[in-house]
């Protein structure tokens, strides 16, 4: 049985509101019911105003927090909440879509900063990193398993976005890191009931079509692009698929979490297909941070979920994957 012992989350302090974007980025008036009201960013607002982050190669130099910084903070918070020693962690895996160095692995950058000498490597699942990491740990042979394992998902897309009147990505992305400490030996705050991670790269809209790169792409050497309308349609399709599977499995869920860009669309879908569950999100306030988003929402609401309640964390978006985790609060 895989248990979540604790979850640590780190956000940068700077809040970029829609008003900021209108004023500083010469963006046309953003409608009042726009799905994202604010997002957490690692760039100083003054820098965004002066440069529009037009040369993303310079963003690291001015960033208040990097992908690695947030990852380190999230791990430290998770360790503190777990009431364990940092040296008790036996293995670490990480995911990021926004690394500043393509080598070494992001896990090694984070764990190195923490001073640990443990096996660590990257397991990249992008939006579905959380179920992928959980599935990995859940299927580990017991005799090769350390007592505590940590999954780190960290993203700072704000460093790789252009801020200007033509960029829609700036409206949605926010920075966030989540570190989750797991154990198969010890009881935690959540037990894992079910985990699923599936890919279907062939015929994926994000891979094989002529417009794939325009829907979402995170090139290594160019700004991040999101076509929000098309992307949220992909998210909706995956959310619907996930919900239908849950219905067929007759899971008694009280909460459903996903990283959908448009909360109202997700709420409506959950209400239609799974009326017994309420939908949880923080994307309107913190922005969308790829794989960090869903587990960060879980962490935010974990104290409001009561013992015995089941929560589903459903993922799928910026890749050809779809994932689901069902947890029971202890």
């Amino acid at each position: 049985m895989l248990s979540i012992i604790s979850i640590g989350v780190s956000y940068p302090d700077t809040v970029l509101t829609n008003t900021d974007i209108e004023h500083y980025c010469s963006y046309p008036k953003i409608r009042e019911d726009f799905p994202v009201e604010s997002r957490r960013v690692s760039l100083p607002i003054k820098y965004i105003k002066l440069t529009g982050n037009s040369d993303i190669r310079l963003s690291e130099l001015v960033a208040k927090k990097t992908t690695t910084d947030l990852g380190v903070e999230a791990v430290l918070e998770a360790v503190k909440k777990a009431n364990i020693d940092l040296n008790d962690i036996g293995v670490a895996i990480a995911d990021t879509a926004t690394t500043l160095q393509t080598t070494p692995a992001e896990s090694q950058r984070i764990i190195g900063r923490l001073g640990l000498k443990i096996p660590c490597y990257d397991v990249i699942g992008v939006d579905s990193a959380f179920p992928l990491h959980m599935e990995t740990f859940a299927n580990w042979k017991k005799d090769r398993l350390p007592k505590y394992l940590v999954s780190i998902i960290t993203n700072t897309p704000s460093l790789f976005v252009s801020y200007g009147k033509d960029s829609s990505a700036q409206l949605y992305v926010g920075d966030c890191a989540v570190a989750t400490i797991f154990s198969r030996e010890e009881k935690g705050i959540f037990n894992m009931d079910l985990v699923s991670y599936k890919s279907s790269p062939v015929n994926s809209t994000l891979l094989s079509t002529n417009t794939s790169k325009d829907i979402l792409s995170i090139p290594s050497l160019a700004p991040l692009k999101i076509h929000a309308e098309a992307f949220s349609q992909i998210q909706s399709a995956k959310l619907e698929k996930n919900l239908q599977e849950l219905v067929s499995k007759k899971q008694k869920l009280s909460k459903i979490i996903s990283s959908h860009l448009v909360v109202k669309e997700a709420e409506a879908m959950v209400s239609k297909l799974y009326s017994s569950a309420s939908y949880l999100s923080n994307v309107p306030t913190f922005g969308y941070s790829f794989g960090s988003t869903a587990p960060a929402i879980l962490a935010q609401y974990s104290t409001e979920i009561t013992a015995g309640e089941k929560v589903a964390v459903l993922t799928g978006g910026a890749d050809a994957c779809i994932g689901a985790v069902i947890l029971t609060k202890q």
Partner: protein
């Protein structure tokens, strides 16, 4: 029990000779290169004129002029591996990929390769730079075999010549571009039976070898070389003791960083030339593809009743070993 059923390799076509590097007038010469690192030629996806004129000052240009990319090389290597394994793409149930220099963070390299191969299965990036061969096999070896699909395709691909600053006298001599792939199964017996895997890391030294997302490759050469030799010898010694390795019969493949370093290691362990397989002298350091590409290039020379030990080290700093029993050809 895991087996490797087939292995494949693919390399860039443009040859960079030591004379070419000498003619760049950057303070190196052919004799120095051959004595120091034992590399006579290396292969690159970059045109020679591009290197000569620009010295790859801006790596973004490298992507635009490259004759092929990491995905192209991976596809070719994968086809050979699947052919030797006697399987089609449709039979692959999992794709794992390692790369030091991805073109995109999302979708992942594994998904991009899977889509082009026509593999509609679970696929994710599993990354730790040069020791990828050991990482992938150790990762699979840690997982409960009952959940593994029938055939798993592992790939390591990198085009690190695109990250080289060709004004630096040593960096240009090191790297070569290539990919390797290997098909693994827990269900079917193959030529190589997996006996032992190790993967470890000391990420407190993770900044000793870096590829900046927007910049060039850099390493603390002396420290990395010392680490590489010491760690490889340590890995081999453990295998010698635990598995009664007989170097008059058994085969060794090391990390293809440089020939001089490999000669130091084989001299230390009394491994005869005839049982030391390598490819670095004429291909350069192909990062995580080096060792498995060496295996693939010697595939037809595999003889049963021998053991094959692979010890790999690299960025992270991370390292690992794999030991096989070579099975009879079926």
């Amino acid at each position: 029990m895991l087996y490797i059923l087939g292995a494949g390799h693919s390399h860039a076509k443009t040859v960079i000779t030591n004379k070419f590097l000498e003619d760049l007038d950057i303070g190196t010469n052919a004799q120095w290169i051959e004595e120091k690192i034992g590399i006579f030629e290396r292969v690159s996806t970059l045109p020679l004129d591009y290197i000569r004129i620009t010295r790859n000052k801006d790596p973004r240009q490298a992507r635009e002029v490259a004759a092929s990319d990491a995905t192209d090389l991976a596809i070719e290597a994968s086809h050979l591996a699947m052919k030797r394994a006697g399987i089609s793409a449709a039979q692959v149930g999992l794709v794992l990929c390692n790369t030091c220099y991805p073109e995109f963070s999302a979708p992942t390299q594994a998904q991009r390769i899977a889509e082009r191969l026509g593999v509609n299965a679970k696929s994710y990036d599993l990354m730790s730079a040069c020791p990828a061969f050991a990482l992938h096999l150790n990762h699979l070896n840690c997982l409960d075999e009952s959940i593994l699909p029938e055939y798993i395709l592992c790939i390591s691909t990198a085009t690190l010549t695109q990250t080289v600053d060709y004004n630096q006298r040593s960096d240009g001599a090191i790297w070569g571009d290539g990919a390797a792939a290997w098909v693994v199964s827990a269900t079917h017996v193959g030529r190589l039976k997996l006996l032992d895997t190790v993967f470890e890391a000391d990420p407190t030294r993770s900044q000793a070898v870096v590829v900046d997302r927007f910049g060039h490759f850099w390493q603390d050469g002396r420290a990395v070389r010392d680490f590489s030799v010491r760690q490889t010898v340590r890995l081999i010694k453990r295998l010698e003791v635990e598995y009664s390795i007989d170097w008059s019969n058994d085969i060794f493949i090391g990390h293809q960083a440089n020939k001089t370093m490999l000669m130091q290691i084989t001299a230390n362990r009394n491994i005869p030339d005839s049982n030391h397989w390598h490819n670095v002298s004429y291909l350069g350091n192909q990062a995580g593809a080096g060792a498995p590409a060496t295996l693939s290039m010697h595939w037809e020379k595999l003889q049963s009743n021998k053991k094959l030990a692979v010890a790999v080290v690299g960025a992270g700093l991370s390292w690992g070993s794999v030991l096989f029993e070579i099975m009879p050809s079926q």
